[in-house]
Symmetry: D2
Subunit: 137 residues, 4 copies
Amino acid sequence: MIEHSTTVRVRYRDTDKMGVVYHSVYLEFFETGRTEMLRDLGLSNAELESRGVMLPLVEYSARLRRPARYDDLLNVESTLRLPVAARMTIDYRVLCGDELLVSGQTVHAFTTVDGMKPIRPPREFLEMVEKAASSLR
Amino acid sequence: MIEHSTTVRVRYRDTDKMGVVYHSVYLEFFETGRTEMLRDLGLSNAELESRGVMLPLVEYSARLRRPARYDDLLNVESTLRLPVAARMTIDYRVLCGDELLVSGQTVHAFTTVDGMKPIRPPREFLEMVEKAASSLR
Amino acid sequence: MIEHSTTVRVRYRDTDKMGVVYHSVYLEFFETGRTEMLRDLGLSNAELESRGVMLPLVEYSARLRRPARYDDLLNVESTLRLPVAARMTIDYRVLCGDELLVSGQTVHAFTTVDGMKPIRPPREFLEMVEKAASSLR
Amino acid sequence: MIEHSTTVRVRYRDTDKMGVVYHSVYLEFFETGRTEMLRDLGLSNAELESRGVMLPLVEYSARLRRPARYDDLLNVESTLRLPVAARMTIDYRVLCGDELLVSGQTVHAFTTVDGMKPIRPPREFLEMVEKAASSLR
């Protein structure tokens, strides 16, 4: 597996009248974690799209253990499950300091950019992921 | 179980550069479905809070089968699972015409309004739900 | 001028930890007001785009007098200034009951759909607006 | 005046189907700019609220010159107008590289935290701003 960590700051816009982060916003934090992890692997969205690949989200889930609050500086840990097969699965953990607040998961399909037709994960994609995983061992 | 249906219109704000509804927005559509279902049961948020009860979301999941698009008029079907126990579970289906686009689920805890301490579902709440279910049989 | 009124319900997602609607969300309410007004004029976005026209927003402003709150059922009044010239200007008033909460304005350019190049307002567009205005006199 | 600069990365969630940043999202970028500027002045929201002060937004405006796009790394320049009087005014410029994309402004009132009653800007607040301004001269 490939692990990555990034930080996000909770804004007013992310909170609701309960005083905590609105539940759907964790998916936006997951987006930031996933995007930065893929960028680190050399797989920025621009790079992927230039190769004709998109990774639309087909499933997601989250478990909210404790609420994140305004101005918290959160750690988003993203983990790419290996090997990547027909689908790509990423697990997330959102922490404030040492405390685990939220865990979740997104599942992605591989499609063409034009028309979003399902495709198999491109060999180049798998090789870059494999290379990244090797360098971490 | 108790079923309810409401409509939402997809706005520009709900879409992303892929031209489809951004995945986290379905949770906002679920919120509208859930709120209107509970309102119909006589359990608006104002009513619940006046009785000292909150229903914070503790888990959610969704499966995205087909994308919703700008200006679609969507049907959000919400189904409350009965009986309600320590947790309240609601299932959702988002349709455009006859086509199922997204299915999902949210799980809610019962807490106090002040301090959000866990409580058992209040007897009044369960009675109102039970009464609503009976009138549907 | 052409006037139109529609309603929006304040969701949890629209509020922030101050307990009121987050300020940028009024622009989303303006979007709903504007879209429904144009739809009533026979100028839905689909209709406009099929004619090769887009109306990107180039300026906006708002004045927040009193806060809207969770679950408020708001009235969004949209007013199209006539005649429409190189730019289209729409004024908005957001009310809760009789109380004016927010006023604002958006200014739109006319562009092509492909490449978003500036164009003059199409004659057909102006005629439909003029016809709508006449029928209101 | 006091100037501050911070960066924000455009996410999928910030774009719409036109392929550009949705217009209301610039207000969220302004929030990040403003919050980080005030934090640098020793005036984080937590600090302000502990002194019983809130800064609700009462007016805003923006002019969109060129669109920001997905994955752009934007510079948000915030400028606090001095002296701060009954209202606090902040100007913003959003740039991508050297190119000015958006300019805007927010105006804030001073209120109590409890009940959000209007107050005069607290002497401590003005002194901290004045001290920060002096150190920049």
